[in-house]
Symmetry: C2
Subunit: 141 residues, 2 copies
DNA sequence: GTAATTGCAAATACTTTGCCACGTA
DNA sequence: TACGTGGCAAAGTATTTGCAATTAC
């Protein structure tokens, strides 16, 4: 089984969260997803649908976010998107404004230098960034 | 008076919108703002508060967005942020997760090359991007 | 005159919370 | 046992729409 899941659950334990079935399934679901997911998607997903209530998923995401294990993204839609933060991983996204498809971009992220520069010049702490490209995919054009 | 305002109103006219007081004030307000604004901020702003209803501002923003004159951004908060699109202008933002302050970044945007690359490789049309940096500002730290 | 625009109120959509029962450590 | 967690239902916040009245062209 995926060692990253174990690792992530461990991080949760260290953050003081209890190891519940719902927590494990949530992490598993988020990790398997190639892209960020909304609360509704998560709560309705195969793994979580009959596992727990939407409020539970909401509160889990809240806790994970507070502890820096997950992050809440904007991604333009009405609903918030969530993604797990895996040390050493970072993704920018390409989003179709027609069909709403979201995919992670493989190319190396070109903004780390600017990020460093901003950190130095402004004194901001805990800096991170979000980069999304929007457009109309070939199918929708 | 600011020629960009006239120019923008003109673009609206060409898009088929009628020249109303509310439209002008909305454009004026958005252009004067150094950062994107929410519907609530706009509808409650000095210029628009007693000029028109929030629903009107909402629909104006909707039309402007449809015609590519304004754009709806994510910016992480619960409410959507709007900004006018002025030809030749582009901004990335630095946002404090503590106090919520938003400021435009002056440094040149480092992602245009990647944007071109994505356009070529994926065949996406009307590509544009959004880049935001999040962190805790010196005051909040 | 005609079609776009507006105000007001009502309907949605998604998120967030209260409260008490339950399960993990 | 104690405190984090979970379910269910209700409340909150921001967005979106219906419709009749109004206004720009």
């Amino acid at each position: 089984m995926n060692p990253i899941i174990q690792e992530t659950v461990e991080r949760c334990r260290k953050a003081g969260l209890r190891r519940t079935k719902a927590l494990e399934e949530l992490i598993r679901t988020l990790l398997e997803s190639a892209r960020p997911m909304t609360l509704a998607e998560l709560a309705g997903s195969e793994r979580l649908a009959d596992q727990c209530d939407k409020a539970t998923v909401f509160r889990l995401l809240q806790r994970l976010t507070e502890h820096g294990i997950a992050r809440r993204l904007g991604l333009h839609e009405r609903a918030a998107y969530f993604t797990l933060l895996v040390p050493g991983r970072h993704s920018d996204y390409l989003i179709c404004t027609g069909c709403g498809s979201i995919e992670a971009i493989k190319a190396p992220c070109p903004v780390h230098e600017l990020e460093d520069e901003i950190r130095e010049k402004t004194g901001f702490r805990n800096l991170y960034h979000e980069l999304e490209f929007f457009g109309v995919c070939p199918k929708c054009a």
